[in-house]
C-alpha cells in the first residue's frame, strides 16, 4: 500500500473590525434588525460610487506587516462579476492580480498573499427547512453587505489536519491581538476554506486539489480535512482519479458533497474597478500601521523560550494569553523566571487577582525554602481571598517551614510508632509503602515540612 502525504493550503476570510463598511459610511452590523445598516451605496442604488475605507486599508497593511508580507507600493481593486441576490451591484469589489500584500510567513507556513474585498449580504431562507432547498422564499438582509474582508491565502505548506488546526489557531490569535478582527469562527468573522490534495510520500509533484468550503470551527476544519484526505486516498487506491471541484463538508453526517465542478466554475470577468483609484500607501500610512502592531504570539513565545528559558508549553500559553504573559514579566522581574512561571500558572488556574509584586514575594519565600510549595499554595489561596503580604500570612497562620529538624524528627517518630503495620510492610521489602507514612506526617506538620527532609528522616529512622 502506498503511503500518501497530504498537501494543504488555506484561504481565510477575516471580517475586519472597522467602524464602517468597506466602501460606504454605514456602521458595521452586529445583529441589528435586517436592512437597517444600509445606504444607497451598499444597496447598489443607481448612480452610487464606492469610496475605500482608510481604516480597512490600515488593518490590511498591519496584517501584512505582522505576517512579514511585502506591502504593494500600488495595488488596485477589480470587479468580480456574477449575479446573485446577496450581491447588490452584480459584482463584488475585490483585489485580483495586484493585491495589497504579497509573500510572508507565520510560524511554519508561508503566506502567498493578502487582499481586501467586501462581504456579500446575507440570504435568509424562509420555511421549515431553513436551507435554500425546500424553502418557501429567500429574503435578503443587506446589513452584512459591504463589510470589509481581508482574504489570507497560504502556500500549500500544511501536511496534516492537526497542523492546519494548530496553525489556524495561531493565525486567529495573531489577528485577535492585532485588534483587526473579532475572529469568531461561529459568527463568521473568521471563515476558512481548505485546498486539499495528496501525493505519494516523497513525491514533489502536487496532486489534483479540491476546495473544501466554509468550515466554521477549528474542529470542523480538522474533521473536514481528514474526511477529504480519506476520500482522496480511497479514490487513488481504487485506481480512480481525484477530480478538481469545490466541496462542502457536512459536520453532522461527516459527509462530503460536491458544490460545483471545474467545468461549472464561474467566469467572473474580472476587470479593474474604474470607480476607484489605485491604493498607494504613503510612508506615513506604513509607519502608522507599523506603530499600531503589538508584540504578536509567535514572537512573544520565542522570546519567552529564549530570554526566560520557559518550557515551550508555558511560553505558548503566555503568548496566547498575553495578559498573563505581561503579568508574568512583571512578577519575574529580577526573579527566578521559571519558578515564577509555575506560580503564575497556579494563579491563572485559580483565576484570582494578586498583584505581581506580591506573587513575586511568594515565589521568593518558596525559593528560599522559608515556606514549602504546599504551604505556598495555601498562602496563594489566602492572597486571592483576602490579599495581604505572603510573609505575614505565613507567620500569622503558622505556615513557615520547620527549620530545626528536632520538631520534625519527633513527629516522624510519633507517626512510625502509630503505624506498626506499615513499618512491617516496609521492612518486609515494600519500600513504596513508605508513602503511607508521609501523608500523616504532612498532616501533622500542616504542610510546613519539606518533602525531601521527611523522606530522609523516615529512611534514617527505619534504617533503609
Amino acid at each position: 500500500m502506498t503511503a500518501y502525504e497530504p498537501v494543504i493550503g488555506l484561504e481565510i476570510h477575516v471580517q475586519l473590525k472597522t467602524r464602517t463598511k468597506m466602501f460606504c459610511g454605514c456602521a458595521l452590523s452586529f445583529g441589528e434588525e435586517p436592512n437597517t445598516r444600509t445606504c444607497p451605496v451598499c444597496l447598489g442604488l443607481p448612480g452610487t460610487l464606492p469610496v475605500t475605507n482608510a481604516q480597512a486599508v490600515q488593518y490590511g497593511i498591519m496584517m501584512g506587516l505582522a505576517l512579514g508580507c511585502e506591502i504593494a507600493p500600488r495595488s488596485i481593486f477589480h470587479r468580480k462579476n456574477y449575479f446573485y441576490p446577496d450581491l447588490a451591484k452584480g459584482y463584488q469589489i475585490s483585489q485580483y492580480d495586484i493585491p495589497l500584500c504579497l509573500g510572508g510567513r507565520l510560524g511554519d507556513v508561508r503566506i502567498h498573499r493578502i487582499h481586501l474585498e467586501e462581504d456579500a449580504a446575507k440570504l435568509v431562507h424562509v420555511g421549515t427547512s431553513g436551507r435554500i432547498h425546500g424553502s418557501d422564499a429567500s429574503i435578503v438582509d443587506y446589513n452584512r453587505g459591504g463589510t470589509p474582508l481581508a482574504e489570507i491565502v497560504t502556500e500549500p505548506d500544511i501536511h496534516s489536519a492537526e497542523q492546519a488546526r494548530d496553525w489556524l489557531q495561531l493565525l486567529r490569535e495573531t489577528l485577535r491581538q492585532l485588534g483587526v478582527s473579532d475572529v469568531n469562527m461561529e459568527e463568521g468573522s473568521l471563515r476558512c476554506d481548505a485546498n486539499v490534495s495528496i501525493r505519494p510520500a516523497g513525491s514533489s509533484e502536487l496532486g489534483t486539489k479540491t476546495e473544501l468550503k466554509n468550515m466554521n470551527s477549528f474542529r470542523f476544519v480538522m474533521q473536514g480535512i481528514n474526511a477529504e484526505i480519506a476520500r482522496q486516498t480511497a479514490l487513488l487506491e481504487a485506481g480512480e482519479a481525484v477530480v478538481q471541484e469545490t466541496l462542502h463538508f457536512d459536520p453532522t453526517s461527516g459527509r462530503i458533497s460536491s458544490l460545483r465542478s471545474k467545468e461549472e466554475a464561474h467566469d467572473y470577468r474580472y476587470f479593474p474597478e474604474p470607480d476607484l483609484v489605485p491604493l498607494v500607501p504613503t510612508p506615513e500610512m506604513l509607519e502608522a500601521a507599523q506603530a499600531a502592531i503589538p508584540e504578536l504570539p509567535a514572537e512573544r513565545s520565542a522570546r519567552y523560550e529564549r530570554d526566560f528559558e520557559l518550557a515551550p508549553d508555558t511560553a505558548y500559553l503566555f503568548s496566547f494569553e498575553p495578559e498573563w504573559g505581561d503579568y508574568f514579566e512583571r512578577a519575574a522581574d529580577g526573579a527566578d523566571a521559571r519558578a515564577t512561571a509555575i506560580w503564575v500558572t497556579e494563579l491563572r488556574s485559580r483565576g484570582g487577582d494578586v498583584p505581581p509584586e506580591t506573587l513575586a514575594k511568594l515565589v521568593a519565600l518558596v525559593g528560599a525554602k522559608t515556606v514549602t510549595a504546599a504551604a505556598g499554595r495555601t498562602i496563594l489561596d489566602t492572597l486571592i481571598a483576602e490579599g495581604g503580604d505572603p510573609a505575614q500570612i505565613a507567620e500569622r497562620d503558622g505556615l513557615t517551614a520547620l527549620e530545626d529538624s528536632g520538631e520534625l524528627e519527633a513527629i516522624v517518630a510519633k507517626v512510625i510508632a502509630e503505624h506498626p503495620d506499615v513499618v512491617e510492610r516496609i521492612q518486609g521489602g515494600n519500600a513504596k509503602a513508605m508513602g503511607a507514612l508521609v501523608g500523616p506526617i504532612m498532616r501533622e506538620t500542616k504542610g510546613r515540612a519539606d518533602g525531601g527532609e521527611v523522606n530522609r528522616l523516615l529512611r534514617a529512622a527505619l534504617g533503609l
Binding site: 447598489g44 442604488l45 452610487t48 441576490p85 459584482y91 470577468r269 476587470f271 470607480d275
Partner: protein, 468 residues
C-alpha cells in the same frame, strides 16, 4: 424674456429687473407644452427660490440619468420606470447650492447608449430645427430643450460625445470637461472611466457660468479632482499667438461636404483673429471608435448588472425561479441597444478574450492619450468638426448600429484621453446646425472657453429660429 441668455437673466434677477419666480414659470409652462418629447418630467410648480447665489434661481433642465431626490430618474429605461431615488447627484446638488432650480428631467438614449435619443424607452426626442430629424444623443432631450428655448440651459453627460454631438446637431454650446472635474456621484453609470457631466447652453458665457457651479472634488467620488482654479467668464476677442492643430484623421474623409465647408470657414475666421492653423496627425485616432466600443460596453456590462429586479425598478412578473426572474426582467426591461452592448461587453471581458479585446483596447486608449500629449508640445488646441454630419432623419440609422456609432468618430478620442472639449455652433449646412469642436489639454477649460468665446463672436451664429 426667453431671448435672454441664462447669464443675462441671472444678472437681471440680481438687479431686480426680472422676477425669478415669474421667469421660472415662463420656462415651466414652455417645458410643460414641449412638443419635442424633450422632457420625461417637468416641475409642477416653482420651488422656493433663493436668488442670492451666482445662478440666481435660473431654472436648469437635467438629463434623466442624474439622480434627483424624489423625482423620477429613469435613465431613459423601462427597467427604471418610475424610479425615484432617495438622494440627489452631487453635480445637481452643487447647481442647486449655487441657486439653480430644477425645471425638469430630459429625455435621453437608454443609459446614455446612442447618438440620436431614439433609444429611449419613452420615445424619441425631435430636433427643433426639423422635427423629422433627431437631436443627436445621448443627451438629446437636454440639447433640444435649450435649442428650442424650453429651458434656459441644461446639463447632460458625455461618454463618447453625448454632450458635444447633440449640441452640434441642435446649434448650441456643449462642453465636456476634463474627466474628474465634476463628480459622477449620482449619475446613473454607463461607462465609469468615460462618463463626465457638462453644460448645454445657448452661448459660451453661459457655459462657463454653469460649469463653474458644477465642478469640484467630491468625497463620494474617488475619481473626482475638480479644477485647479476657479472657472472664469470668457472675455477674449482675438486668438493672437494661438496655435490650432487640425488632425488630418478627423477632418477629411467621412465628413459631409457642407460640414467640412463650415469648418474651413471658421478656420479662416481663426486665422483672421490671429491664430495659426496647421494640419497635424493623431495617428491612433482612427482606432478610437473600435477601442471605445470595447471599453464602454465592457464597463456597462458590469455597471448594468445591478438592474436585476431584486431591489428596485422593474421586475418581470410571474417567474418561478430566480434565474427566470433575472432573465425575464432584463429581457423585458432593457432595450435592444443596451442588450447589444451588454453582450458585446460581456464577451470582451470573458476569460480567454480579455487580452485580445479589453486589454488591447486599453492599450489603444493609452496611445490615443499620448497622441494628444504629443500634440500639446506644438499646439494650444486641436480643432475638428464635432460630428461628421448634420442631424439625420428619425429612423435613418436605427437599423445599422455601425452607421450610428460612426457619429462619434470626432468626439470619442477626447473621451478616451479624458481631456476637455467644447462644441460651439458653427453655422448651417443644408439649413441645419453644424458644430466646431475645440479640444485642449486636461484642466484647460478656462483657455478653451476663452478661445470658444472669441470664435463665437466671429461666427455670429443665431439660434433664434429654433426657439420660434
Amino acid at each position: 424674456m426667453i431671448e435672454l441668455t441664462a447669464a443675462q437673466a441671472a444678472a437681471a434677477i440680481k438687479t431686480g429687473d426680472l422676477d425669478a419666480r415669474e421667469y421660472f414659470d415662463v420656462y415651466r409652462e414652455r417645458a410643460a407644452a414641449d412638443a419635442l418629447n424633450a422632457y420625461t418630467w417637468v416641475a409642477e410648480a416653482a420651488p422656493e427660490i433663493d436668488a442670492s447665489g451666482p445662478l440666481a434661481g435660473v431654472p436648469v433642465a437635467i438629463k434623466d440619468l442624474f439622480c434627483t431626490e424624489g423625482v423620477p430618474s429613469q435613465a431613459g429605461s423601462k427597467i427604471l420606470e418610475g424610479y425615484r431615488p432617495p438622494y440627489t447627484a452631487t453635480s445637481v446638488a452643487n447647481l442647486q447650492r449655487a441657486g439653480g432650480t430644477l425645471l425638469g428631467k430630459t429625455n435621453q438614449d437608454e443609459f446614455a447608449m446612442g447618438s440620436s435619443t431614439e433609444n429611449s424607452a419613452f420615445g424619441p426626442t425631435l430636433n427643433p430645427w426639423d422635427t423629422a430629424r433627431v437631436p443627436g444623443g445621448s443627451s438629446g432631450g437636454s440639447a433640444a430643450a435649450v435649442a428650442a428655448g424650453t429651458a434656459p440651459w441644461s446639463i447632460g453627460t458625455d461618454t463618447g460625445g453625448s454632450i458635444r454631438q447633440p449640441a452640434a446637431l441642435c446649434g448650441i454650446v456643449g462642453l465636456k470637461p476634463t474627466y474628474g472635474a465634476i463628480s459622477r456621484y449620482g449619475m446613473i453609470a454607463f461607462a465609469s472611466s468615460l462618463d463626465q457631466a457638462g453644460p448645454f447652453t445657448r452661448d459660451v458665457t453661459d457655459s462657463a457660468l454653469l460649469l463653474s457651479a458644477m465642478v469640484g472634488a467630491d468625497p463620494c467620488d474617488s475619481t473626482s479632482i475638480g479644477l485647479p482654479g476657479p472657472v472664469e467668464l470668457p472675455t477674449r476677442t482675438d486668438l493672437k499667438g494661438i496655435r490650432l492643430g487640425v488632425p488630418a484623421e478627423l477632418s477629411g474623409e467621412g465628413i459631409e461636404p457642407g460640414v467640412l465647408a463650415a469648418f474651413n470657414d471658421t478656420l479662416d475666421r481663426a486665422r483672421a483673429l490671429g491664430a495659426t492653423v496647421e494640419t497635424m496627425h493623431l495617428p491612433h485616432a482612427p482606432h478610437g471608435l473600435a477601442a471605445y466600443y470595447l471599453i464602454a460596453p465592457a464597463e456597462c456590462s458590469s455597471n448594468l448588472a445591478r438592474y436585476d429586479g431584486v431591489r428596485y425598478g422593474f421586475r418581470a412578473p410571474g417567474q418561478a425561479t430566480l434565474l427566470d426572474m433575472y432573465t425575464a426582467t432584463r429581457e423585458q426591461g432593457f432595450g435592444a441597444e443596451v442588450k447589444r452592448r451588454i453582450m458585446l461587453g460581456t464577451y470582451a471581458l470573458s476569460s480567454g478574450y480579455y487580452d485580445a479585446y479589453y486589454g488591447r483596447a486599453q492599450k489603444v486608449r493609452t496611445l490615443i492619450a499620448k497622441d494628444f500629449t504629443d500634440a500639446w508640445e506644438r499646439f494650444d488646441f486641436v480643432v475638428t468638426p464635432t460630428a461628421p454630419g448634420v442631424a439625420f432623419e428619425l429612423g435613418a440609422k436605427t437599423a445599422d448600429p455601425l452607421a450610428m456609432y460612426v457619429n462619434d468618430v470626432c468626439t470619442v478620442p477626447m473621451s478616451l484621453a479624458g481631456i476637455p472639449a467644447i462644441s460651439i455652433p458653427n453655422g448651417l449646412s443644408e439649413g441645419l446646425p453644424t458644430g466646431f469642436q475645440i479640444t485642449g489639454p486636461a484642466f484647460s477649460e478656462n483657455r478653451i472657453l476663452d478661445a470658444a468665446f472669441a470664435l463665437e463672436q466671429a461666427i455670429g451664429f443665431d439660434g433664434g429660429k429654433a426657439r420660434a
